[in-house]
Assembly symmetry: C2
Homo-oligomer: 213 residues x 2
Amino acid sequence: MSKVRADISVSVDGYVAGPDQSIDNPLGEGGEGLHDWVVALEAWREAHGKKGGEVNASTQVMAQRQAGVGAGIMGRNMFFGGGRTGPWDEAWTGWWGEDPPFHVPTFVLTHHPREPLSLSDTTFVFVTGGITSALEQAREAAGDGDVLVHGGARTIDQFLAAGLLDELELHVVPVILGGGARLLDSLSPQINLEQVRTIEAPGVTHVKYRVVR
Amino acid sequence: MSKVRADISVSVDGYVAGPDQSIDNPLGEGGEGLHDWVVALEAWREAHGKKGGEVNASTQVMAQRQAGVGAGIMGRNMFFGGGRTGPWDEAWTGWWGEDPPFHVPTFVLTHHPREPLSLSDTTFVFVTGGITSALEQAREAAGDGDVLVHGGARTIDQFLAAGLLDELELHVVPVILGGGARLLDSLSPQINLEQVRTIEAPGVTHVKYRVVR
């Protein structure tokens, strides 16, 4: 059966973005550094139309991550670029550009209805019915494929708290940000995980967990 | 030159003890599970006068941890067993028993003066002058050896914030506790780390960081 998976880059103190996030600085103070390891990869650069880059232990992690994904889910801020509130400005097509790196139907959680938006081979579908509705639609779109929950922190936490996540992978980056958007924030009661595997790579440790129910 | 090191077991959401800590339950709800990986080791059991146990990838991590340690530092609660307040009850010799597993001079941070206490070959020295004074005394006692900061969370955070820590090792255990004593709590500004090495072991991932100054 297909899985519901989430993976995200996180600081050693558990933040997925640094303090003082804004429209101009959606990843907050120091947050850019959380993605240095992936932006340096040849595989990432290729997917974003760039040349060069590294091949290292993170390459297979990213390949595994992409394999078999049939649909995606993300919070509104992750589509929008963060920091904006209120209804959609329909002229704004998200910060992923004209050729978003998803290539599968991607469901965006929002309180504001909007028509689906197709950019190259990625279609963003805006869902106002919450995570259960988004997951239902994503599962149907994914068929036999997995559903990847992209983030942000609050969206992943919602899926975890609702018992809807099968796998969580953390890309732990060697920095202490001291504030910002925290992942795994006040989730209770206790959630047991099983450590599936750990991979050490330059500037990051990848740890994959299975959620135990 | 000798190093100042800290290492501690931590949940995936960053807690070194679970919620609802008390005298009867100093590690809080679910906190015991943070130490399952170490308690299962033959090396740990031997050091605590017990037979049997496992040899696995964590064994070398614990051996490296103990190697070259000349002195230790811990917070009052870690000596005391947690949950107690007020001046010392001198009859209470800590929860480490008659043969504490330290075997080197161990400096306990406290606001309440007390005469040194020797139990087998471990001497506890009570320091009222804060972390700087404790580190000075520990360094002198350690000679060429390293100083190991045992915890708890607040003590390690104090050393990090003051720029006094050279190495931090986290033993990340696959559980989300949802509350309790948080490590790396609101440390700012940003502290840069260098990932020294990662070791995958049964039920735990060991990640060692160097603090970049």
